[in-house]
Structure formats: C-alpha cells, structure tokens
C-alpha cells in the first residue's frame, strides 16, 4: 500500500492537473452554451440556471443559418476528402510502383511544393480565382466550387505523400505475381492495390476531412455570402468585432460542430495517429 502511494500518487497528481488544464476551457464552453445570458462572462464556475436557449436559437433564429453552414462544411469537406484521395491515390500508386523518367524529380518537386506554406500564396490564389471568375462566374472567387477546387489542390501534395508511404509498405510480390499473371498496371491498381489499401484510403480521406473542416482563412476570403459560409467562418462571425457579445450561440454551435470530429477521432485514433507520424503534423 505504501509502495502504491509512492509510485502512483504523483502520477495521478500530474495526470489530474493536466486533465484540469485540458478540461477547463471545454468546461467553460459548455457553461456558456448553457448560460441564459449568452456571454463568456464568468460570475461563478457553477451554473445557477441552465437554459437551452442558445441551442434552440441556432436552429430557429432566421438570422443564423446554422444548419446551412453545417451542411456547407460537411459537403465541402466531404467532397474534398473523397475526391482528393481518389485522385491522390492514383498518383501515389504511380510514384510508388511504376517506373518512368523523372520520378525522382517529381517526388522532389512534390516535397518542395509542400514546403511552401499555402497562406503565402494566398494573394496569388486570390488574383487567379478572381480572373477565373471573369469568365466562369460559377467556379471563381466567392463560390463554393471555387473554394473546393483550391482545397483539392492544397490537399493533393500531402495526400500523395502520405499515400505513397502506405503503398510502399504493400509487398511488391503481390504486384509481381499479378504482372506474371498478365495484369496491366491499371488492372493491378484496381484489383490489387485499391482493395488492399481501402482502410488506409479511408484514414487519409478522414484526415483531409478534418483538415478541410478546420480551414478558416481561405474560406473567409472566398465565402462572403451569409448562406455560403462554412461553419468555421460563420461561427467566427458571432464573436469577431466586440468580444463577449454572442458567446452563448458561439459556444453552443462549437459544441455541436465538434461532436462529429471528436467522435471520429476517438473511435479511429489508433489509425489516425499512425497516419500522422508517417508524414505530417496536424494542420
């Protein structure tokens, strides 16, 4: 018993302090979401009254198209997640398995391009998309499809790089066996690689989904119209300007928006973490 105290007590103490540090902001969000005054103003850390006004406001107030924002975010992030992995997987397969001239240079270019932080080329993307707008107003600046295209480009580098790592780990013998049996590269891809890599593809698309869902700067630059906004831009609008103004609905909205992400993350953490260590840091 004494040994237990000596060995484990300090561990529990540190773990508990850390948990407090982690949970403190989260607790505050829940607190202000449930507070009827709708501010982050703390008078007491224990709520006296609990109200669901902030939550109901999100769904009933005509000024807050919360469900539309949520739908926008889910659709944009979903499309980017699926398409960028479908397209990225093909390139990753080619980089990993096929032999061609300029493979090394291609990989180096991919690596180099990834090092140029996206925000730095923001002004260029802005100018290019405003030019696209001049002849194709549906996919230019200020439209969701335009934003989607830009996201696709941004996701491509990381995804190809991550997926290439996974393809490399699939034993070469499988391809060679298929080749001996007369399969073409395209057949090898669809019949051998895609079924084998399915779980990995799912994880990478999940990472793309989370990354896109979290993206803020481009979305804010692109989506001006209230009903076109994503959830991140929409919610930020509540509290930008004067602080402590609309914290209630912001907190409630954040909680609802976080739930799907946290659920995905906690249930798949093992796979996501292996994916993260393989290639990148959270963006």
């Amino acid at each position: 018993m004494k040994r237990w105290l000596k060995e484990d007590l300090w561990r529990h103490a540190i773990a508990l302090v850390t948990c407090f540090f982690v949970l403190f902001p989260i607790y505050l969000v829940i607190l202000s979401a449930l507070s009827p005054t709708g501010s982050l103003q703390v008078t007491s850390f224990i709520p006296k009254t609990i109200s669901f006004r902030n939550f109901s406001m999100l769904f009933t107030s005509p000024k807050i198209p919360y469900l539309v924002w949520m739908k926008n975010s889910l659709v944009i992030a979903g499309v980017v997640a699926i398409l960028s992995v479908v397209i990225g997987a093909a390139s990753a397969f080619a980089f990993s398995r096929l032999r061609f001239k300029g493979k090394k240079q291609g990989l180096q270019l991919l690596l180099l391009v990834q090092m140029f932080p996206a925000i730095l080329s923001l002004s260029a993307v802005y100018v290019i998309m405003s030019r696209v707008y001049s002849f194709a107003p549906r996919i230019g600046l200020g439209t969701q499809p335009g934003l989607l295209l830009v996201y696709m480009g941004g996701a491509m580098g990381v995804n190809i790089w991550l997926l290439k790592g996974f393809v490399d780990s699939i034993p070469m013998e499988l391809d060679e066996a298929a080749k001996v049996d007369g399969a073409s590269a395209v057949q090898t891809y669809w019949l051998i690689f895609v079924p084998l890599a399915a779980p990995v593809l799912a994880v990478v698309s999940l990472l793309s989904f989370i990354g896109t869902f979290n993206e803020f700067i481009l979305a804010r630059l692109f989506l001006v119209d209230m009903h076109a906004r994503t959830i991140a831009v929409g919610l930020q609008g509540f509290i930008s300007g004067q602080y402590a103004s609309n914290w209630g609905p912001f907190a409630a909205g954040s909680i609802i928006a976080s739930i799907p992400l946290i659920a995905i993350f906690l249930s798949l953490q093992r796979y996501i973490i292996s994916g993260l260590t393989a290639g990148s840091v959270k963006g």
Partner: protein
C-alpha cells in the same frame, strides 16, 4: 474557350494544355504512368505550383496600393483626373440632348453674358439669342435641331455622360456636373507619347517615368502622379528588406519572435507531452480515461478552441483572471500577450506529442533499462542516459516538422491576438506577437497600404527558411534515401 475571349491568356493556355494532355493520355496508350498522374498533377499545378510561381513573379514588381493597374490604364486615369476648373470656376446651365444623328450634345446657357450655344464632343455652334425663347432665369430649354433627352434616357447613358467632354475652346471643355449644370475645365496634365512624359501646362513641371512604376517630377523625385502602375523592379523588393530601415527593423524583430515562438512552442509541447507519456507509461488506475481526456484538444476543431481561449483571456470578463483573482491586461502588454500565445499553443499541441512519445516509449525494449538497473543506475540516470537519447532519435524529425509548422502557424496568431498589441500610433504594422506569416498577411491584405510585391518577396524568403529547416529534418529521417 471563353477564357480566351476574356483575354485571360495564361489561364486559357493552361486549360488548353490540360485538355490536350488529357486527350493524349486517355485516348492513346502513349504513357501509362500519365494515366495515373494527370488529375493529381492538374490540381497541383493549377492551385499550388501556379500560385507559387505567381507569388515569385509578383515579388519582382512594384505592386502595392496605388500601383495595381497596368501602365496604359494608369495613363488613362491620370489624364482623366488631370483636369482643373478654369480660374473663374465658370459654370453653364445646360440641357442634355442629341442632334438629329443621335449624337450627344448639350444646349448651354450663360445667363450673365447672354451667350447661348450647342456643343458636342467635336463641335461648338454659337446661337443667336434673338432666335431663342429665353425664360425668366435667362436660360433656354429648346433650340432648333436640338432634341432634349428625357431623364430615363439620360440615366441609360449615365457612364457616357459622366466622362463626356464637350467642346468650348481650344484649351477648355465642359463636363457635366449633375443633370443641369456644366462646368468649364481644362486639361492640366498632358501626355506626350513620344517622350513618355506628362506635362503640367499650368506650372510647366514635367513628369517622367521613374522606372519603378510612377511618373515623377523631374525637379522633385518625391512628387509623383497618382495612380502609378505595377512595374517590374526586379530585386528591389528583396534589397529593400535589408536596406530600408523602416522595413528592416520590424522584420528583424518579427523574425526573432517567430523563431522564439516556434522553439518555445515545440519545447513546451514536447516537454509536457513527454512528461505525461512517462507518467502514464505503466499500468495506472483510470489510464484510459486520462488518455481520452488528454487527447481532446487535438480532436476539437482548433479554430474554435483558439477563439474560446481568446475569450478566456479577456481582462474584464475572462475566466483566467477570474480563476486567479488577477486583473491582467493579457492582450495589451507584449509580454503577457506572448505568454498567452504560448499557453494556448501548448494546450493545442501537447496531446500530439503525448501520443507520439508514448508510442515511442513503448517501442523502446524494456531489457535496456532493466540491464541498466541491474548495473545500479538510478531511474533518473536511466531516463537521461538511455530512454531520452533513444526517444529523441525517433521523434527529432517530428520535432523539426513541428517547428516548421509552428513557424507558419498563422491561425493561432491571427485568431488569438491578431498580432497585437501594436503601437498603431507609431505607425507600426507589426505587433508584438506577429510572426513572419501574419506580418506578411498584414502587409498584403492589411488595413493601410497593401503592398503585394513586398509581401511576396517576404513569402519567398520564408519559403527558403522553411525549405532548409524541412530538408534538414528530412535528411535526418532519411526519407530522401528512398529516392536513390
């Protein structure tokens, strides 16, 4: 192909090339790898490589507020604004109309001098007052051969009417100021195409193309005409970074803070993550619950977490001051604002390092520390001499990657402090917590003068810094070996 019609040649050439490549690749068996690559390459080139090249190109131009347009556009604008009313500020009462050939004209009345005339953009016809019906104000409303426009017809011609110049004399012309008033003006800035100079006919000053996108007074270089144009100035934006003290000073300050911020972030995140990993690296009651709680910050949408922390640091209502019973102006003092940024980033990032290090700790064979223990090493010695070196070997590439990521961690700065506090009265763009990337963002898109050329130049410099850091990390992680 409508891109071509709109004169967006670069984009249309790119699209045309992409279509051509697609046709070749998918309709023939020209290249199998290309069948896999093409869609990915399309997006990569259109939205990543293209913008990067564009940024590099922009960095060679004088491209800022006041110098956004092309030179011909700038000349047109200078010409249209380079007019002055005549010395007496003469005005006429006018009626806007057309002649029989639908050509725009005005019927002008000068009641004081009893002069009446019809003027178009090319001709001026004086009228004999005795033939006209003059009202009690001394104005005329109609004249033979003159057809007045109705208000709705006028509003349809709005743009044309605003810029029309009606003939008066060789130097002077009349422009429309509101529906019934015309004022007498003259062109004071005259452009001479042959010598590429503007001349002010009143003062006699000559303005010459100064080579950096402005027409500057020959006698006084600081006197330039607005607007300028985006002119190629090659490496001037880069040399300015080092030679212009107004740019160099804040840049050095921001750069130092960027390095400090990124190092402190990685250090604190790694230290806390490692501590937790070590603490929980044994069977502990409730370990699964601890673990689930501790990775929450990593799972939550980071934007929302940052905004919430921003509210918590509020001086009056914030939870932090309430919790500790203090009254700290977190975002008004440089030191406290910097502390806040580090604390929030610690919260956001340490779970990542906890996950990484706990995985790495488990991978270290237990035999090593057991052998050391038998040899009489204390647990502290085992940690410092065996565990930590082995661990660092595994995680150092990730530390480097994390440093590179935080070097450009725009969101936390932008959303938490906005780069502030800044001495805005002193005209500083850079705030105390601004890192290079948020500073660049302010230069390019900020509230004051927006300088895209300079911002692009800084971007390129940042790219080289990040690339060298990342290459160092990659060398260590031996990713490049697979290229060989």
């Amino acid at each position: 192909m409508s891109a071509f019609a709109k004169r967006e040649y670069a984009i249309s050439i790119f699209l045309g090339f992409a279509l051509f490549a697609m046709a070749i690749t998918y309709l023939t068996n020209f290249s199998i790898p290309m069948k896999f690559f093409l869609p990915g390459m399309f997006f990569l080139f259109a939205f990543v490589v293209g913008p990067i090249l564009y940024t590099v190109a922009m960095s060679a131009f004088h491209y800022e507020t006041g110098n956004y347009i092309s030179k011909p556009e700038a000349i047109t604008q200078i010409l249209s604004t380079g007019v002055r009313p005549d010395a007496n500020q003469t005005t006429f009462d006018i009626v806007i109309g057309e002649d029989a050939g639908k050509k725009l004209e005005i019927l002008a009345s000068d009641p004081t001098n009893k002069k009446y005339f019809i003027s178009s953009e090319t001709t001026k016809i004086d009228l004999d007052p005795s033939t006209l019906k003059i009202d009690e104000n001394g104005d005329v409303a109609t004249a033979p051969g003159f057809h007045a426009l109705t208000p709705s017809e006028q509003s349809a011609l709005d743009a044309q009417l605003g810029s029309a110049r009606f003939t008066y004399s060789s130097d002077y012309f009349i422009t429309i100021e509101g529906g019934t008033l015309g004022s007498l003006k003259r062109q004071t800035l005259v452009y001479d195409k042959g010598t590429d100079t503007f001349k002010n006919v009143l003062t006699g000053d000559a303005y010459k193309d100064n080579g950096t996108g402005d027409f500057a007074n020959i006698k006084n270089k600081a006197d330039i005409l607005q607007p300028g144009w985006r002119a190629p100035i090659w490496f001037s934006n880069y040399t300015k970074l080092f030679t212009d003290p107004q740019i160099r000073k804040p840049l050095i300050r921001v750069f130092i803070w960027t390095v400090v911020f990124a190092s402190l972030t990685v250090l604190t995140q790694f230290a806390l993550g490692l501590l937790i990993a070590v603490v929980m690296n044994r069977k502990l009651f409730g370990r699964r619950i601890y673990r689930s709680i501790i990775i929450l910050p990593y799972a939550m949408p980071s934007i929302m977490s940052i905004l919430i922390w921003g509210g918590m640091f509020d001086t009056e209502f914030g939870a932090i001051n309430h919790l500790f019973g203090t009254h700290v102006h977190w975002f008004q003092s440089p030191l406290y604002a910097r502390m806040a940024v580090i604390i929030v980033n610690l919260w956001l990032g340490f779970p990542y390092f906890y996950l990484i290090t706990s995985g790495a700790l488990q991978a270290i064979p237990a035999e090593l520390s057991e052998a050391a223990a038998i040899d009489g090493a204390t647990s502290g010695q085992i940690f410092r001499k065996i565990t930590l070196p082995l661990l660092l070997q595994v995680v150092s590439p990730l530390l480097v990657a994390s440093f590179a990521f935080n070097f450009n961690n725009f969101n936390i700065i932008y959303l938490l402090t906005g780069g502030g506090p800044a001495n805005t009265l002193g005209g500083d763009v850079a705030g105390s917590t601004d890192i290079l990337i948020s500073y660049t963002y302010k230069i390019a898109f900020g509230a004051g003068t927006q300088n895209l050329g300079l911002a692009s130049a800084i971007s390129v410099v940042i790219f080289f810094i990040i690339a060298s850091i990342s290459l160092y990390g990659i060398r260590r992680s031996k990713v490049l070996d697979s290229f060989a």
